[in-house]
Symmetry: C2
Subunit: 205 residues, 2 copies
C-alpha cells in the first residue's frame, strides 16, 4: 500500500466550479434513483461531462456522495441555527416551540429533496452513515436540551429516549411532507405537529 501524497491541484477556478456542478447533478440523480441505482456515468452525463472528468475530481462514487453529504451538512447547520435560535423556552407556549423548531427543518427538507434521498435510505455504504451522524446527534442534543427545560422532572434516560422518539417521528413524517403537492403540504405539517404535541404535552408537568 503506497502512501500516495495527493497534493492539492493548482488551477481551481474551473475545477471548483465543475465540482460544484457535479454535486448539483449528483444531488438530482441520487434524489431520483437512490444511491445504489444512481450510476456514476449518469451523474457525469447530468453534469454535462464525461465519466473520466468526474473521476478527475472525485476518487470514487462514494467520495461524490461524501462531498455531497458535507455540503448538505453545512447547509443544514443554517437550518439548525434557525430552528434552535435562543429563546426563553420555559416561558413560551408549547405550540410556539414546536412551530419554531419544525418550520425551518421542514423548509430545509423541502428545499433539498436530495438530502433525505441520500441519508434516509438503507442502501448507502456504511461510511456515508457516519457522515450523517453529526447532524443526527446535533439534532438529538438540541431536542434533549429543549426537553430539559420544558420537562425538568423527566429523568435523563427517559429524556434521551423521548428525544429519540421525537426525532424519529419527525424523520418518518418528513418524506410525506416533502412528497406532498404544494397545496397539501401545510395540512401534512399540521398533522406532524399534532403528533409531536400529542407526545410532548404529557411529558410537561
Amino acid at each position: 500500500m503506497t502512501v500516495e501524497e495527493t497534493r492539492p491541484r493548482r488551477r481551481q477556478a474551473r475545477g471548483e466550479r465543475r465540482m460544484s456542478e457535479i454535486l448539483d447533478a449528483a444531488a438530482e440523480v441520487f434524489a431520483d434513483l437512490g444511491y445504489e441505482k444512481a450510476t456514476t456515468n449518469a451523474i457525469a452525463a447530468a453534469a454535462g461531462i464525461s465519466p473520466g472528468s468526474l473521476y478527475q475530481f472525485f476518487r470514487s462514487k462514494e467520495a461524490v456522495a461524501q462531498a455531497l453529504a458535507d455540503r448538505f451538512t453545512a447547509q443544514m447547520r443554517g437550518a439548525h441555527g434557525e430552528a434552535f435560535a435562543p429563546a426563553d423556552l420555559a416561558a413560551v407556549d408549547l405550540d410556539e416551540v414546536i412551530d419554531r423548531v419544525v418550520d425551518p427543518l421542514v423548509a430545509f427538507n423541502v428545499a433539498n429533496p436530495g438530502f433525505k434521498a441520500l441519508f434516509a435510505r438503507p442502501d448507502m455504504p456504511a461510511g456515508l452513515a457516519a457522515a450523517a451522524a453529526p447532524i443526527q446527534s446535533a439534532l438529538l442534543g438540541r431536542v434533549e436540551a429543549i426537553l430539559a427545560v420544558r420537562a425538568p422532572d423527566l429523568p435523563p434516560p427517559d429524556r434521551a429516549r423521548s428525544a429519540r422518539v421525537l426525532v424519529q417521528i419527525f424523520q418518518a413524517m418528513t418524506p410525506v411532507v416533502v412528497a406532498a403537492p404544494e397545496e397539501e403540504r401545510e395540512a401534512e405539517v399540521r398533522e406532524l405537529k399534532k403528533v409531536l404535541r400529542g407526545y410532548l404535552a404529557p411529558l410537561e408537568d
Copy 2:
C-alpha cells in the same frame, strides 16, 4: 411476445418443499441485505442448492420476492385478525384499544423480520410494491373503521388522513422496536403506544 403456457409441474412433493426452503432462505438474505444487494446466487447458496435449481422454481429474482410477499401476506392476515378482532370499540378504554391493535402487529413484525426488510425499503421493483398494497390498504381500512366508532364527529376526509398518520407512525417506529434488544423492546413499544395515544386522544370528543 409469445404467450408461454406454463402448465403446472407434476411431482410436487420434493418441489414444494424446495420452494418453501428457498423462500425461507430468501427471507433471511433479504432481511440481511435488502432486495437489491441480495444476489440470487446467495439465496440459492443459503437454501443449499445451485443457482440453476432456484430458477427451476422461480422465473426471476422478483418472482422469489413476489412469492415471499404472498406468503407474508397470508401470515399477516392472521395477525390482522387478532389485532382487529371484534370488540365493543365504543365502550372500551383508549389504552385498551391501542393495546389490542398494536400488540399482535408488533408480535408479527418481531417474528418476521424479513417482512419489513422487503416492504419498507425503497429499493424494490415497482411490481413488488403492488404486492404490499393490499396489506397496506386493509390496515388503513381497519384503522379508519376504529376511528369512525371512536371519533364519530371527525369528517371522513380528516378521518382518512388521521388513519394514514397513525399507520405511518406505527410503520416508522416498528423497525426500532424490532431491532431493539429483547430487554428494551417493551419500553420501545410503550413509547410507540404513547405516541399513538397522544395523537388519538384529542381526536376523541
